[in-house]
């Protein structure tokens, strides 16, 4: 009798009852969760998108027209009326109808103009043309295109959203607009630094401030305010002087954007305005005078976006 058989069979039996049979496959797409915590990284070659490790080529969208800071001019319609702008969207998102199961790379577009209710785009490929309604008003305007998954969850990776600031201008009035932060952007409640980028139309030059200098036509800088109602603030000398920072682009051509980093104070939850105002080089309020022959028709140039603190 060969008594090796019994222990061998018993060992095989025990080993067969429970053992580790899985093989971790790091190449699987859309399987592993990911986050910013240590150990929450994705395997090499994958990106963290919506909390899952996805492939290297996530879907993208980009506004083609209007171009960045493009001045599309006043339309033929009356000022203040709605006009149609034929915008274009490009990207790699496979645009499909809403309501299906989530398939990475597929989705639909949500296009919003100046914060209005979004337009849903459920078809199209390549360069997608979309007609949107824009108020025919002189000033900065914003288009936001978001790629949304089939299950309604917005893609959250870089390139999944495209924001575009453009102008509707009369060609003479200097305009200022905030390119960053974008309206609705979220920031934490505690003190945090944000980068504010403001653009001006090509007729205005952002120059360094000179408190002793004389105001010059179409030249000046930007004052930056936070959590103030800008129109009321500039009417209040104390508030007006409590700007957070100036934004300049010295020695740069007219119409060049300027960027400034500021620290937002701690605040409660809610929406707070970030505002910019054109100033003369000596910090006085820049007032545009559309008709120098007419007394009292001057008006300031400003822009304001609401950011979310929570």
């Amino acid at each position: 009798m060969h008594i090796l058989a019994a222990p061998a069979l018993a060992s095989a039996f025990v080993l067969s009852l429970g053992c580790f049979t899985s093989d971790l496959d790091p190449t699987q797409i859309g399987v592993f969760a990911c986050n910013d915590d240590p150990g929450g990284e994705c395997p090499d070659g994958q990106s963290c998108i919506n909390g899952r490790c996805e492939g290297e080529d996530p879907p993208t969208v980009a506004v083609g027209f209007p171009e960045d800071e493009q001045d599309i001019g006043l339309g033929d319609g009356a000022i203040g009326s709605m006009r149609t702008v034929s915008m274009t969207v490009t990207g790699t998102l496979e645009i499909v109808p809403t309501g299906g199961d989530h398939v990475f790379g597929e989705g639909h577009l949500e296009i919003s103009v100046d914060g209005t209710a979004p337009i849903i785009v459920e078809s199209g490929a390549g360069v997608v043309g979309v007609d949107v309604q824009v108020a025919n008003t002189v000033g900065p305007h914003r288009i936001s295109v978001k790629s949304i998954r089939n299950d309604g969850v917005p893609y959250d990776h870089e390139g999944s959203t495209s924001n575009r600031l453009f102008w509707i201008s009369d060609g003479m009035t200097p305009l200022v607009g905030i390119k960053s932060p974008w309206p609705g952007e979220e920031f934490p409640l505690d003190a945090t630094e944000i980068e504010v980028t403001a653009a001006v139309t090509p007729v205005f030059a952002l120059q360094a401030a000179n408190p002793l200098g004389n105001p010059e036509i179409l030249t000046g800088h930007i004052h930056l305010y936070y959590a103030q109602s800008i129109e009321m603030c500039i009417a209040d000398p104390v508030c007006d002087m409590n700007y957070l920072a100036t934004i300049v682009a010295p020695d740069m051509p007219m119409g060049t954007s300027g960027t400034q980093t500021v620290t937002l104070t701690s605040s409660g939850a809610g929406t707070f305005p970030v505002s910019v105002v054109l100033r003369n080089i000596n910090h006085s309020l820049y007032l545009h005078d559309p008709d120098p022959g007419v007394e009292g028709d001057e008006f300031p140039q400003l822009d304001e976006v609401g950011i979310l603190r929570r």
């Binding site: 008594i3 429970g18 053992c19 580790f20 899985s22 971790l24 150990g39 990284e41």
Partner: protein
């Protein structure tokens, strides 16, 4: 007297254990008569006759052990007829002694002394003959002497190893090994299987727990460690079981040897992938 007889029979029984049945002659190492004569090549008959003699001898030993002295005598006489060994005469003498036939016993013992060369305990056998002659003269029977206190019998053989300790130790060791292999192996194996299932659920079940790749890697590492632990535990436990079974088998074999004189051969084996023992023999 009893001790002498038992010692002899046990000693002759040892022959069957120590030598395969085909060996030509019994080797009565513990015989009171001392070292038996080695077989003389000139006296060796053909194998068939020798085999029959050995069979009769073995049968006689068994009968003697069962106190069937008359049958044992017949067997030893048959063996002596088939093969001329002085040792058979000694056992014939023992049987006559048991059967209260001292004259015949004296004759057999005398034949043993005459025919066996270099009897190391010749003095003892001669003393036994003298004692039997005294009994004949006094009208006593050997069985009467048995009831008394033997004073001139050879010392009893050393107590045979029964292997009881090995049996108990082997059983305990085998039990411990089995418990280790089963308990540890199962526990670790099931824990490894849980990790495996968890990882499967991550990879094929939609990852409901939102496990990160780092977490999955940790899960895999943990599962593999548990599996390694399982293998080691089962291997160690199995080795202990084998050791225990080996001890048990040796103990049982010794016990059987001591009890019935049967033969058993325990052969350890060592291979590249396994160790163990092979137990062969007649049970």
């Amino acid at each position: 007297m009893i001790a002498t007889a038992v010692g002899c029979v046990l000693a002759t029984a040892n022959v069957a254990l120590a030598a395969p049945p085909a060996e030509p002659l019994p080797n009565v190492t513990d015989s009171p008569a001392g070292e038996p004569e080695p077989p003389d090549d000139s006296t060796v008959r053909d194998d068939d006759q020798l085999q029959r003699a050995m069979t009769a001898f073995s049968r006689g030993s068994d009968n003697y052990n069962r106190a069937m002295y008359q049958d044992a005598l017949g067997d030893f006489l048959e063996a002596a007829t088939l093969y001329a060994s002085p040792d058979f005469q000694y056992n014939i003498g023992l049987c006559y002694e048991k059967l209260d036939k001292p004259e015949e016993a004296i004759a057999a013992f005398s034949t043993y002394l005459k025919t066996k060369k270099d009897v190391p305990d010749r003095a003892n056998v001669e003393d036994r003959i003298r004692r039997l002659q005294a009994m004949v003269e006094s009208g006593q029977k050997p069985s009467d002497i048995d009831k008394g206190t033997p004073t001139d019998t050879p010392p009893p053989p050393p107590e045979k190893k029964t292997g009881r300790g090995l049996v108990i130790g082997g059983a305990v060791l085998a039990g411990v090994g089995a418990a280790l292999a089963l308990g540890g192996g199962l526990g670790l194996g099931l824990a490894a299987k849980r990790r495996s299932d968890d990882l499967d659920e991550v990879q094929t079940g939609g990852n409901p727990g939102d496990l990160t790749f780092g977490g999955a890697s940790d899960l895999e590492d943990e599962g593999k460690r548990l599996e390694l632990g399982q293998i080691i535990t089962v291997a160690v436990g199995g080795a202990i079981v084998i050791g225990g079974v080996a001890m048990l088998a040796i103990g049982l074999a010794r016990g059987k040897k001591a009890k019935a004189g049967k033969s058993a051969i325990l052969t350890p084996s060592l291979g590249r992938t396994a160790i163990g023992v092979s137990l062969t023999g007649r049970f």
